[in-house]
């Protein structure tokens, strides 16, 4: 046999022996595990360049929502702060006035802070929120280089107004002129009572929405579930404010029942 052929055969034999060792012996099969992993596609996700999508119900950073006309949904009730197991939320409520209306109804959050040094992103606050003012976004990149930087104040948490809508504060007259149905006719009732579905606010006698919004008002010339025409209405039951000096006369309280 010519010498180069022998050399070639020698190396072929070496490779075959190596392959036999790797596939036939228990030691070799052990060594084959990392070798097989080498030819697989790595599991690593290229995070900063190609972030992977989060699940739909991902608990990211919070957001304070607005209605379509720019009014804030938050009514400053502090239920989120009370629900918070980490004591991360601070809410200071205040009254809406005729000149400065922030939210439909009586109260709004004058100051709203979430301390992300403490927050565990458990989502109990958004479950507690009666108006869906507080929700969680898919944003999780909010690290900061100082403790103070992790305290998010209302100006950072509040979502921007929808296009075409003004920001808060708005005047009462503008709000009334729009005749906006703030809870969309849907009230927040416990799911367990009504089979897990929401119910029409007007049909639910215990719904809080009925007390705040004009939809529940039933009076002369007005049917239940319809919006009142607020244009020429001098008295608006939606305005429940201490500064509202003109005592509102509720249409439905005229007749004693």
């Amino acid at each position: 046999m010519p010498a180069p052929l022998v050399t070639l055969l020698f190396f072929v034999a070496l490779v075959v022996l190596l392959a036999l060792f790797l596939t036939r012996t228990s030691w070799g099969r052990g060594f084959l595990v990392p070798l097989r992993a080498m030819v697989r596609k790595p599991e690593t996700s290229q995070y900063p360049e190609e972030p992977r999508p989060v699940t739909p119900r991902f608990h990211g950073r919070h957001q304070l929502n607005r209605y379509a006309d720019g009014l804030e949904k938050c009514i400053g009730c502090e239920l989120c702060a009370w629900a918070c197991p980490a004591d991360a939320i601070y809410v200071q409520g205040a009254d809406n006035t005729i000149e400065a209306r922030y939210s439909p109804g009586e109260r709004y959050a004058e100051d709203y802070q979430i301390n992300y040094n403490r927050c565990i992103l458990c989502g109990l606050c958004i479950e507690a929120c009666p108006t869906r003012a507080l929700t969680m976004t898919h944003d999780y990149e909010f690290s900061a280089d100082s403790r103070r930087g992790l305290i998010w104040t209302k100006d950072k948490l509040l979502a921007p107004s929808v296009e075409g809508a003004e920001s808060t504060p708005q005047t009462d007259r503008e709000v009334r002129r729009r005749g906006f149905n703030y809870y969309g006719g849907l009230a927040v009732t416990p799911p367990s009572v009504h089979g897990g579905r929401f119910e029409q606010a007007a049909n639910a006698p215990s719904a809080r929405a009925g007390q705040v919004l004009p939809t529940g008002v039933v009076g002369p010339g007005r049917e239940a579930g319809t919006l009142p025409s607020t244009d020429e209405d001098p008295v608006d039951p939606a305005v429940v404010s201490r500064t509202n000096t003109t005592a509102p006369v509720r249409p439905d309280s005229e007749g004693e029942r």
Binding site: V6, M38, T44
Partner: protein, 412 residues
């Protein structure tokens, strides 16, 4: 093979020193990146990929980090030894590369020489001697730290290195007995011819296979890498002898470790795989010599990859088993094969053996080897003896009265 070293001008020596130094230093730097990269792929990760293409700039960033970290010296340490220990490690790792040729003969300006710092007459012994000094680095680091974990790490390191030094030395002994010379260039020349059949490489891995296996295990222990990295043992000893080190002094230990892996691979290639020899494809002169560098690089790379594969595949050995393996398996095998080699060489010198005698000797050696593998002493000395198992058996078990009575009844 070479001109007399005295006759070579100074610049030749400079070229050799710089070439070898650059090869091993660049290799070490790239290995710090390449190992993490390959190890990452073995674990379905990508490894470092942020700095430069494929993350190749990682070693620069690591070096900068190491250099600029605070060089903290704990108050209670023995300062001179504490500083000396990492230096010994790096210097010794560099020194043992001195006798390893990384290319074939190349000719520059009329002078023909291989890229090798010094072709010492005691070449192989130099590797062993310098390797033994490396133990001092680890041991002094453990001792000078005056802290329990480093001390345990240092003690482990010295016990391990000394044990495996013997096995490795015996494996090397069969190499130079077979080659008939301690000089590294002679050992390579002895391998450059044909093997048993013309065309087959005459690498010593074939006739000295047991010595090769022993050397392969021992070199991992000598380099102090997984699965024999008990001296560091992050899980048990925090960091072993490097626990109290930080900054560049820690970095020097890391350099020494990576350099150790390269050096051991290079020694392995030199002693058992023909060093820079390989097919020349009809090239001659300097080009063939430079092709030798390619072969050397590929062979060394194979064993460096083997080091990384070991780290990816195996967990850390237990200490008692490590010492058992060294003393009860590797040293006897290496000793036996050194003796067999010596006998073989003696017989060849006396006039050679007939083919039948060769076959008989080979079969005999195979039988001895098989016995050595199959009939092994009890490996786990600290496993409880069977007597203890009897003691804990429940004493209240009835002594089978029914069985005996039935037997009696049936008989009666």
């Amino acid at each position: 093979m070479n001109e007399n070293a005295q006759s070579l001008p100074l610049w030749v020596h400079l070229v050799r020193v710089l070439a070898v130094f650059a090869f091993f230093l660049v290799g070490t730097a790239l290995l710090t990146w390449g190992e993490r990269r390959i190890l990452g792929r073995m674990q379905s990760r990508r490894g470092p990929n942020r700095v430069g293409p494929l993350g190749i700039g990682q070693f620069v960033v690591d070096a900068v980090k190491m250099l600029f970290k605070e060089d903290f010296t704990p108050g209670m340490v023995n300062r001179p030894l504490f500083t000396l220990a990492p230096l010994i490690g790096v210097v010794v790792s560099l020194l043992s590369m001195a006798v390893i040729p990384i290319s074939g003969d190349i000719t520059i300006a009329g002078h023909t020489f291989p890229l090798q710092v010094a072709d010492l007459g005691v070449g192989v012994l130099w590797i062993l001697a310098v390797g033994s000094i490396h133990v001092y680095s680890l041991f002094l680091a453990g001792w000078a730290s005056t802290s329990p974990y480093p001390l345990i790490g240092g003690v482990r390191a010295s016990a391990q290195m000394i044990s495996y030094e013997i096995a490795q030395g015996l494996a090397i002994a069969s190499v130079f007995i077979y080659a008939g010379s301690l000089r590294v260039s002679d050992i390579i020349a002895a391998q450059s011819g044909d093997g048993l059949i013309p065309g087959m490489p005459g690498w010593f891995v074939v006739p000295l296979f047991p010595a090769f296996v022993v050397f392969m295990v021992a070199m991992v222990a000598e380099a102090g890498r997984t699965p024999f990295d008990l001296a560091e043992a992050e899980g048990e000893l925090v960091g072993g002898f490097v626990t109290e080190y930080s900054s560049m002094r820690f970095g020097l230990f890391m350099i020494a470790e990576f350099m150790g892996a390269i050096t051991q691979s290079a020694i392995m290639v030199t002693l058992f795989f023909g060093g820079p020899s390989g097919p020349t494809f009809g090239l001659e002169g300097t080009l063939a010599g430079l092709l030798g560098f390619v072969w050397f690089f590929l062979k060394t790379g194979f064993f460096i990859f083997f080091f990384i594969l070991l780290r990816g595949a195996l967990p850390r050995y237990r200490y008692a088993r490590l010492i058992n393996l060294g003393w009860k398996v590797l040293i006897p095998v290496a000793l036996m094969w050194a003796a067999v080699t010596a006998v073989f060489v003696m017989l060849t010198e006396q006039g050679g053996l007939g083919p039948q005698a060769r076959i008989a000797l080979g079969v005999g050696a195979a039988v001895i080897l098989a016995l050595l593998v199959l009939v092994r002493p009890d490996e786990d000395d600290d496993r409880p003896a069977p007597d203890h198992a009897v003691d804990v058996a429940p004493a209240s078990t009835p002594a089978e009265p029914t069985a005996s009575s039935t037997t009696i009844g049936r008989n009666g």
